[in-house]
Amino acid sequence: MKAIILVVALGLSVPAQAFDFGNIDLEKAVKTMQKIKHAKEDVSEPQEIELGSGIASSLLGAAPLLDHPELQRYVNRVGRWIALQSERPDLPWHFGVLDDADINAFAAPGGYVFITKGLLARMNSEAELAGVLAHEISHVLRKHHLQALKKGARRELMADLAGEAIKSKGGDERLRKLVSAGTELYARGLDKEDEFESDRMGVVLAARAGYDPYGLPAVLQTLQSINPTDSNLALMFKTHPGFDKRLELLGPLMSPALDDWERQPDLNQRFATVIGNRK
């Protein structure tokens, strides 16, 4: 504001340029005001999907899909069935198994969910897979990655996206930057509270889908027992709260609240059959 007053004051002493300078600054001020207004708005669902597909494409550039079509379709059916029990059943949900020994799972805006074969190989049942997918689905439902981008260094670009200043088709450089920032989030991690929230929601979504809700805690317990110096866990440790803390928080929340659903099937046989089948 002070700068505008100064420019206007300077402008006054040189009348010929006063109008121009004042005009440009006024335009800039209006644009800033619009950006502040848009920063409070959410990006639309098509924009969310567009951004998410870009981030998913980058992630697939880092780790390709496992070439096991039967397993890929199986994971998509488990995931889609869980997503149908959520508040966003009709997003274009996509699930993928990444061909990487690292132990991790990822979500991207708009309904993209990935799990590594390294994590899948340490699971014992469909209920455990469901628990992990449901955790990732919850990140999408709560738009945790979009929130993180809004708070980060690219918040102005997020405001542009919300204000529809970014035209999605045709390779806008600003969209490319947002995709890049979104992919880098996987290396930095989300807010710890977002992870705890996804744990709480994930066990409920698994129960809604008819599974034994203890699949997610069982996976966390398995991971807890892996030597923490295992390099396949390095990124997970860097980007997530500790397994001890996550289990400590989940335990008292789940029992007795979910006791009525704990006898639901875990489908360990169906899981073992699909995992064991070579393509």
């Binding site: 996509h94 992919t183 409920v204 398995t222 892996i226 030597n227 001890d244 989940l250």
Partner: protein, 165 residues
């Protein structure tokens, strides 16, 4: 690396599927005769005592303490370091034997792939793999049919409230 992996899998195989994992009791807990809260308590397991985990049934683990077999709440246990390695079974082996993809667009990008921090920061788009992902997607009807085959029934369950700050 590969040799070590194979060795681990061979050992895991010898130890049997997922039985016989060593675990520690995190906090004092009741050893129950059956996996129910109102089942008979056999005795109390003190914190830090060692048990062998035989199987999981929902929130309960069947364990062996000395010569007694009973059930404890899963979340009162912490598996010993390395315990879960013994779970490795034929599934793990077959997953790791699946070759890296040709069909899903693994050919174009240069540079090292992987999920390290560095690799994520420099990741390039892989539109071919994104197309492959599209082919595997499930629609609503396929998902519902799949659930019915597994006898999964949708339930009404409220979300859990978080901790009050």
């Amino acid at each position: 690396m590969m040799k070590m992996l194979m060795l681990c899998m061979a050992l895991g195989f010898a130890a049997g599927a997922w039985a016989q994992e060593e675990a520690y009791v995190v906090r004092e807990t009741e050893l129950k005769a059956k996996p129910y809260s109102d089942a008979q308590t056999l005795f109390m397991l003190p914190a830090r005592s060692k048990v062998i985990v035989l199987q999981r049934r929902a929130s309960w683990n069947q364990v062996k303490s000395g010569t007694t077999t009973g059930w404890v709440k899963m979340l009162s246990l912490q598996l010993a370091r390395g315990a879960a390695q013994h779970r490795s079974d034929s599934g793990l082996r077959s997953l790791f034997n699946v070759a890296r993809t040709g069909g899903s667009g693994a050919t174009v990008t240069t540079g090292v792939r992987g999920l390290s921090e560095e690799q994520l920061t420099h990741a390039q788009p892989n539109p071919e793999a994104l197309d492959a992902l599209e082919r595997y997607a499930s629609d609503r009807r396929a998902a519902e049919r799949f659930a019915a085959q597994g006898k999964l029934q949708a339930q009404r369950v409220d979300y859990l409230a978080g901790e009050k700050k």
